[in-house]
């Protein structure tokens, strides 16, 4: 039994808690003993990307304190938020303390704390790929000619975290064929609060992404879209629903949980927004 701390992210916590519960079950079936640090809130990436460095640092310091109680691996339900902690925190905290006229040793100390906690962070598929043992209580029958999914690799997972193959590998191990659309390296347009401050460009990108997804889905008879990043999914799903062309959008953890239970991927896929 490996103990892990679960970092659900604010978006999963608030808007898709079922993905958090799915991740919990998926980890536990593989022998993980899950701890949920209840003080966690948000990694601060929204603020950081918008240029609010000090605000991001406030959230980063809180995040570190929330996750420092143990030395266990931290499993993140977002590639982007994982990248924030691992690759942005150390420099962010150092620079913020310097910018606020703080003590140099204090800056170095926070940087060291950020580096230490960052070393423990794994995005869900990264952790699963290296977790010992197969799912004990999972059934995962071969999917055979089961329908496939389109996989969207978020930009920060691709280029900052550099975790490009883990999620497709994990999905393949679970018997889910996944396909990446044409122009898969192009951003979906979410970009945190960019989606709110620059909605027209953001939406043009979402529409371009959907066009590639729909073409691929048609070609391979895919029944849904999955990603390790809920931000991209909410943005794409929200656009499709508004356009009157909803398409099932599932977090990676939700897909794996379904497969663990032996449910075919195409069965009762939730079409959120059509209630």
């Amino acid at each position: 039994m490996e103990a892990v701390s679960l970092f659900v992210t604010c978006l999963v916590d608030m808007f898709r808690p079922e993905a958090g519960r799915a991740a919990l079950r998926v980890i536990e079936r593989r022998g993980g003993q899950v701890n949920f640090p209840v003080d966690q809130t948000c990694c601060g990436q929204f603020s950081y990307n918008a240029g609010y460095q000090h605000e991001a640092a406030l959230l980063a310091r809180h995040w570190i304190e929330a996750f420092e109680a143990t030395r266990d691996p931290i499993v993140a339900l977002s590639g982007s938020c994982a990248a924030m902690v691992v690759h942005i925190y150390p420099e962010l905290l150092k620079e913020d303390i310097e910018a606020q006229g703080g003590d140099e040793r204090d800056a170095a100390r926070w940087q060291a704390r950020a580096l230490a906690v960052g070393q423990r962070v794994r995005e869900l598929s990264q952790w699963l790929l290296h977790a010992d043992g197969s799912p004990s209580s999972a059934q995962s029958p071969p999917n055979g000619d089961a329908p496939s999914l389109i996989y969207h690799l978020g930009c920060h997972m691709r280029r900052v975290l550099r975790a490009t193959t883990e999620a497709p590998s994990i999905l393949a191990q679970s018997g889910v064929p996944v396909h990446e659309p044409a122009d898969d390296d192009q951003c979906c347009g979410f970009g945190g609060t960019y989606s709110m401050t620059e909605p027209m460009v953001s939406t043009a990108l979402a529409d371009a992404k959907w066009q590639c997804i729909q073409e691929k889905a048609k070609e391979v008879s895919a029944v849904g879209l999955t990603s390790a990043d809920l931000g991209c999914l909410l943005h794409l799903e929200g656009r499709a629903v508004r356009q009157g062309t909803p398409f099932p959008c599932l977090h990676l953890a939700e897909v794996l949980d379904r497969r663990d239970q032996g449910r075919p991927i195409g069965e009762n896929l939730p079409l959120r927004g059509l209630s």
Binding site: P17, F46, S47, A50, C155, G191
Partner: protein, 488 residues
């Protein structure tokens, strides 16, 4: 040496530029095709070139070394050029540079100028400056020739007419042919169009009394201006007219030919996916009395215009830009809005960094905020390892620090972070949002929202905040009860 530069800007506000771009479906299709093709070509050329990556890394080092050593290289370069019959000038500002070139032209009684493509001359608005003095200026790069006929500015650093399709080019050439008394191109076939331009420009090369070039590299130890083209027009611009003026940014300096060796490949490899550009033009001095090569008079105008103020700052690596356009081709936002929407001669990721940096955020300060989703595609594409996403974030921070952001937005971020920096505040804000969202809810979904969120709902829906967050569920079912299996 540390003055702020000036750059031309489109007077239209961002919203207008953006909406015009998004409504231009022809431009978006054409730009989309061109950028995708160039982006793929770049990836392909590396695959077939085993030492491509190590050569690139070496060239980054050589370029960084040159920038660190800029002052010494500048002195060495000027000495070498003057030793070989040329004259050099250091233009601190755009206006200085235009004034220097205009004085050279007027003193020599120049009437007709032929030009190679040069972003530096776009940056200082040299053409309007010369035309105002009654001098005719003809662009000889095919793309530049096209947009000059259309009265437009370049939409792409490397491919200035990337937004035009061949039908549009044929129309422009037809009216150009009428004015020049030439046979118009009989179809929109690219070969036919190119043949027309070739014939048309030939007259200009022969009649011009001054040539103006930019420069891709300046080699300090031999005092050489190096130009790369795929059309050979720089060969003609530097050899037909008796007078040659080269306007080049000071950041183009390199130590020697050893450093040039790998660097000269980078614009072609990363810009268009070729191992080397088709033509390399080198000017190393004026024509000797008994020689056949080189112009009779040669003037090199070295342009600062805000560049040297970036030395020894976190942004210094921006001076490594070789104008290959790889970041433009990779950028998802550029693919949607094209170059003109940026409103600056420098568009795409490098443009949204360099425009505010050269001008100290005095023009187009919106650029770092409105034209980037923070996807990092530019960082992967840049052959010079310029930290573009890092600089974009830093410029956004700079804007906040200088109060260039809306006060209401600042307050939102401040309140938001202070709430969420404690678990109590986070939970409180969730309760508040749950109460508030009932006013924005329709058919189970949020269809509108207040403040910052309003932008989202212009084009998208959002699920409401869950009845029970993950944290609330955990506290109810798991907290204090150990770690038993969650079941369904």
């Amino acid at each position: 040496m540390k003055a702020t530069g000036t750059l031309p800007q489109d007077p239209r506000p961002w919203r207008q530029r953006r909406d015009a771009a998004l409504a231009d479906t022809t431009m978006r299709t054409t730009i989309g095709m061109v950028t995708r093709r160039l982006h793929l070509a770049r990836q392909t050329v590396y695959q077939g070139f085993p030492t491509g990556e190590s050569d690139r890394v070496q060239s980054v080092q050589d370029k960084r070394d040159a920038i660190k050593n800029m002052e010494a290289l500048l002195a060495e370069f000027r000495r070498s050029v003057e030793d070989h019959g040329g004259r050099t000038y250091l233009a601190r500002s755009a206006a200085d540079a235009v004034e220097i070139v205009r004085t050279i032209a007027e003193t020599a009684g120049v009437r007709r100028v032929v030009k190679t493509k040069s972003m530096a001359t776009e940056e200082i608005e040299l053409n309007p400056g010369l035309i105002a003095s009654g001098i005719q200026v003809i662009e000889t790069d095919l793309g530049e020739y096209i947009i000059q006929r259309a009265g437009e500015k370049p939409s792409h650093i490397l491919a200035p007419a990337a937004h035009k399709n061949r039908q549009a080019v044929q129309t422009l050439f037809q009216s150009d042919a009428r004015n020049a008394g030439m046979e118009p191109p009989e179809s929109d076939d690219p070969t036919v169009l190119t043949r027309y331009a070739r014939e048309r420009m030939r007259q200009e090369f022969l009649e011009a009394d001054m040539g103006i070039t930019g420069g891709n590299f300046l080699v300090a130890d031999t005092g050489s201006v190096v130009l790369i083209t795929n059309e050979g027009n720089a060969d003609l611009v530097t050899s037909c007219p008796p007078i040659l003026v080269s306007v080049v940014g000071v950041e183009k300096l390199l130590k020697d030919w050893q450093a040039l060796q790998h660097l000269i490949q980078q614009p072609a490899m990363n810009g268009v996916g070729q191992r080397l550009s088709s033509y390399t033009t080198i000017v190393s001095g004026t024509r000797p009395a008994d020689g056949v090569e080189g112009p009779q008079d040669w003037h090199v105008v070295l342009l600062d215009n805000g560049r040297t103020r970036l030395l020894d700052t976190r942004y210094e690596d921006v001076l490594s830009c070789i104008r290959c356009g790889a970041c433009l081709n990779a950028c998802p936002v550029f693919r949607q809005i094209g170059g003109h929407a940026y409103g600056s001669v420098y568009s795409g990721p490098i443009g949204i960094v360099e425009t505010p940096l050269l001008t100290d955020l005095t023009i187009l300060p919106e650029l770092p905020s409105v034209a980037c989703t923070m996807c990092h595609a530019c960082a992967d594409a840049c052959p010079m390892d310029i930290n573009l996403p890092g600089h974009i974030v830093a410029l956004r921070q700079e804007k906040v620090a200088r109060h260039l952001t809306a006060q209401g937005v600042d307050l939102t971020y401040r309140w938001w972070a202070r709430q969420w920096a404690t678990p109590q505040g986070y939970r409180r804000s969730i309760r508040l949002a749950r109460f508030g969202q009932r006013f924005y809810r329709k058919q189970g979904l949020l269809q509108s929202g207040p403040g910052l969120a309003r932008g989202w709902f212009k084009t998208r829906t959002m699920p409401p905040i869950a009845e029970e967050t993950f944290g609330e569920w955990w506290n109810k079912t798991r907290n204090g009860e150990g770690h038993k299996y969650a079941g369904q």
